[in-house]
């Protein structure tokens, strides 16, 4: 599973100097995180970026080819049909808490299994799936740091996470089924930045709701470090499951204070009903099921990624936290 030092790999060298760039399909490219990753790979002379997203990608660089199609449609298959795709980065999961469960399931789980099917059918040699460290689930019994072997229990208390857990399972099944394909599953901690994901949205609230008497340690990572981790995962020879951690661990309250937000401490027995009502009335965009993430610890051990992928977050803790407020 180990890849060795990427810089000494002859394949990598020939790719940087040679004329052929590796063609990388990125799903979910039109999202904020997708654009960060696309820009990073676009600047890298080793890669040629192909977008796959049903949303338009208006301000895309000229030489990025974008296919505005649904993952589940026949046209998505056509992207792979030519057989010249060198890698897939799948980050096109939908988290919109306002969509129906059926729609989310069909998009996330149905879409992912279709994609993996194309990769198998048209010999894509590298598949990178961006999962999340949240799949382990915040639980009071959790050890301080979960390794990649820990069971994925997020759906136990948090049915809305079922899709993400299932995507992760789909990818690990694919890892064993398609042994000729290098499958990499990345499970990053909470991604902060301009992205519109749950943790960043939560930290942009003012006041930030917290549970009275709870202040768990959390791990965060800068969105640009995610692009870096994905690039590491594209290294030929790399396969496996990796937790991706940022620059360190801090109590949630420290993050909130660093951002200069006010906090609203709510006793936990009334927090859920209160915010469920606010969510239904459209007063809050924060799904209540995620309250467990601000109550219990869900932290991971990123040693394997550091040793085997050579990945280490570049942004400091302060930069990572501040990234939420970047214009």
């Amino acid at each position: 599973m180990s890849s060795g030092d990427p810089s000494t790999r002859p394949v990598g060298d020939s790719l940087t100097t040679g004329p052929r760039r590796r063609k990388v399909v990125i799903t979910g490219i039109a999202g904020r995180l997708g654009r960060v990753v696309a820009r990073a790979l676009h600047h890298d002379p080793r890669f040629l970026v192909v977008g796959l997203d049903r949303r338009p990608f208006p301000d895309k660089p000229k030489d990025i080819v974008h296919h505005q199609v649904d993952l589940r449609s026949k046209k998505a298959r056509d992207v792979f049909r030519a057989g010249d795709i060198d890698a897939l980065i799948h980050m096109g999961q939908m988290h919109d808490p306002r969509s129906t469960i059926a729609e989310l399931y069909s998009w996330n789980v149905g879409g992912t299994s279709k994609l993996l099917e194309y990769c198998l059918a048209y010999n894509v040699p590298k598949v990178v799936v961006l999962s999340s460290a949240s799949v382990y689930g915040p639980r009071p019994e959790n050890p301080q740091f979960l390794t990649e072997e820990a069971p994925l229990l997020a759906a136990q208390r948090f049915p809305a996470m079922r899709d993400l857990v299932e995507i992760d399972h789909l990818a690990s099944t694919f890892f064993w089924k398609a042994r000729d394909i290098e499958t990499v599953i990345l499970r990053p901690v909470h991604i902060l930045g301009r992205v519109h994901n749950a943790p960043s949205n939560y930290l942009r609230l003012d006041p930030v709701p917290m549970l009275l008497g709870f202040d768990p340690m959390v791990q965060v990572i800068h969105e640009r470090d995610i692009a870096e981790a994905l690039t590491c995962a594209l290294t030929p020879g790399v396969r496996g499951i990796y937790n991706i951690v940022g620059p360190g661990e801090v109590p949630l309250s420290v993050i909130v204070r660093e951002l200069g937000r006010r906090t609203l401490a709510i006793p936990h027995p009334i927090a859920k009903p209160l915010y469920a009502l606010a969510f239904r009335l459209g007063l809050s965009g924060y799904p209540v099921a995620e309250f467990d993430f601000i109550r219990y610890v869900c932290m991971v051990d990123g040693n394997r990624a550091e040793q085997e992928l050579g990945f280490r977050a570049r942004a400091t803790l302060r930069e990572t936290i501040r990234a939420v407020d970047e214009p």
Binding site: G213, F214, P251, L317
Partner: protein, 285 residues
């Protein structure tokens, strides 16, 4: 925001004023692997530790007037497992051992103890205990901390020990084997500790019917108000730190093989308890 900040600053000053030279210097001398915000990976905060050291130091020196023997057996650095007898309904024995390791030796040592799995579900305790260096008791946490050369306190008797009634004081309950497996797997020396005094801090009887009613492992009742053990009696604590014991072997051995090693630790603690009880003239002074 304004009020809480003001309160926090006032508290900080009050703590710094009362900390005194000794405890203050010890807090600074503690080996601490914190990040730029002053927290380590397990949630220990240096500023929070100051408050804890102040409170625990007062309880240790003035309330329990603890006397610790065998300080020289507390290693200044490196991984170590402190194994002690557990008693007294309230876990003050953990606090006292932790304070002793922090206040007595030339180089202060932070001892982490393992808290129960339900603690993270209790408001305030959920984050205050980690800020003071306590962690949830899982084997993974223990192994990781020992691999990082930290000091851990374990009570192999667990709930059986702490909740036993007054009539069975100073009788060691069966030891769990988990600590020995950890010590063998991580190659950690074991320092046995005998605690004298904790047994008398809350002389209780166990009311079984009430325990069943509340679904708790025991329901202790003490013969003075408020009848449940909340505040310990001001007994005098005596601690005996024994010589470090090294064990070699396979961590995955059968229970019988491990049991022998565990018994050796148990015997050492037992004999230190006997010495302590013989030397003791009075429970309260």
């Amino acid at each position: 925001m304004g009020v809480t900040d003001w309160l926090r600053r006032r508290l900080d000053h009050a703590v710094d004023d009362r900390l005194g030279d000794d405890v203050g210097a010890r807090t600074r001398a503690l080996v601490f692997r914190g990040n730029e915000y002053g927290f380590d990976a397990y949630g220990l905060g240096r500023d929070h530790l100051k408050v804890a050291a102040l409170l625990a130091g007062w309880v240790y020196r003035h309330y329990f007037r603890c006397h610790a023997h065998g300080i020289e057996h507390i290693p200044a650095a490196g991984r170590v497992l402190f194994v002690a007898n557990h008693s007294g309904q309230l876990p003050y024995d953990g606090l006292v051992i932790g304070s002793a390791c922090f206040l007595e030796p030339p180089q202060p040592r932070l001892v982490r103890s393992m808290v129960e799995h339900f603690v993270p579900t209790i408001p305030f305790a959920s984050y205050l205990l980690p800020r003071w260096g306590q962690i949830t008791g899982t084997p993974e946490n223990c192994r990781r901390l020992l691999d990082e050369d930290e000091a851990i306190l374990v009570f192999p008797e667990g709930v059986r020990g702490i909740s036993k009634p007054f009539s069975r004081r100073y009788q060691l309950q069966p030891f769990g084997l988990g600590f020995m497996r950890l010590a063998l797997a991580t190659n950690t020396p074991i320092v046995p500790v005998a605690v004298i005094g904790a047994e008398e801090q809350a002389p209780a009887v166990n009311v079984r019917s009430l325990a069943r009613l509340f679904g708790s492992p025991s329901f202790p009742v003490v013969p003075y108000p408020p009848f449940v053990p909340l505040v310990p009696l001001p007994v005098k604590y005596r601690l005996y730190f024994g010589e470090a014991m090294e064990f070699k072997g396979d961590a995955d051995d059968d229970d019988e093989v491990l049991d022998e090693k565990v018994r050796a630790v148990k015997h050492r603690i037992e004999s230190m308890i006997h010495i302590g009880l013989r030397e003791r003239k009075h429970v309260f002074w």
